[in-house]
Symmetry: C2
Subunit: 145 residues, 2 copies
DNA sequence: CTTAGGTGCATTTTATACACTAGATACGTA
DNA sequence: TACGTATCTAGTGTATAAAATGCACCTAAG
């Protein structure tokens, strides 16, 4: 089994970039493919990191904006299956404060407000992808017994 | 810049396995390294997937067990910075129901109970790694302005 | 009296339901 | 043409429900 030339070039280029960034090829493949690997984090760092995501809705807002692209307030409300507008409003505010989301106002009337991921927000969204993909193929994890 | 022989062998082996699994090399690199990429998910799938993680503490429990390995009840309580035992107990129950965690009883006395990630749990933990690593290097996202 | 692994219960925090607002245009009709 | 009503967007206010916390307490053996 061999790589297509296109894939080969892509892989070669990526490997060079990854090396330049100081990350280990082995760790990157291992983390993605099949092995548990020490990727240099500690429980404390994880608890810190997830403090913001484990507050209900933050992670869903991020995913919705990442997948669906920039959206307006009521569009988000629909995407998130009817989260209350009160809560959506509050959560969007804290997402802005955390630098994940920016609020773009188009003067009206009617005034329209578009929510957009910042660069950080997009990165976080991207990093969540593999987990969503995994969960999607293992619905037994979602529908509790 | 070239790969060491060890890395080269590892990469080659991994690429073959990834190809056999039907996943695209390009997507794997892109998702890991620097690009936004359509990895075939929809908002609905993401909202489903995160419904369980965005409930407070679930994701932290997963991360703690993944990073620190099997732990007993009170060890988890400490790792999670003093979550109330009431809540930890409830959350561990729902994690078991979702098939992320298993409860291993060593008959006492004193009775000892060890919590351990299932295979699914370990996979989810692994997939969260890159996000934690990213957050760790971008603390400005955690400490809101 | 200690240790491990919890449960019970009152209080506090967080989310929901649902009514309601502003500011401007659009529509119906006398 | 003028008048009233209806609609749209992006929220806010407030009462209620759900979830997390703090702290006391339980069991069972050494």
């Amino acid at each position: 089994m061999t790589l297509s030339e296109k894939d080969f070039n892509y892989v070669q280029k990526s490997i060079v970039e990854v090396q330049r960034s100081g990350r280990s090829i082995r760790k990157i493949f291992a983390a993605y493919y099949d092995e548990d690997v020490d990727i240099g984090w500690e429980v404390d760092a994880a608890v810190d990191a997830f403090e913001m995501f484990s507050s209900r809705w933050t992670i869903e807002i991020l995913a919705a904006l990442y997948i669906a692209g920039d959206r307006r307030f009521n569009e988000l409300r629909t995407l998130l299956r009817g989260i209350s507008s009160r809560t959506l409003s509050d959560k969007l505010t804290t997402c802005q404060e955390h630098g994940l989301v920016e609020r773009v106002v188009e003067e009206g009337p009617p005034i329209r407000v578009t929510y957009r991921l910042t660069t950080h927000g997009r990165t976080c969204g991207r990093l969540l992808g593999p987990l969503v993909a995994y969960m999607k193929t293992h619905k037994e994890l979602i529908e509790s017994e």
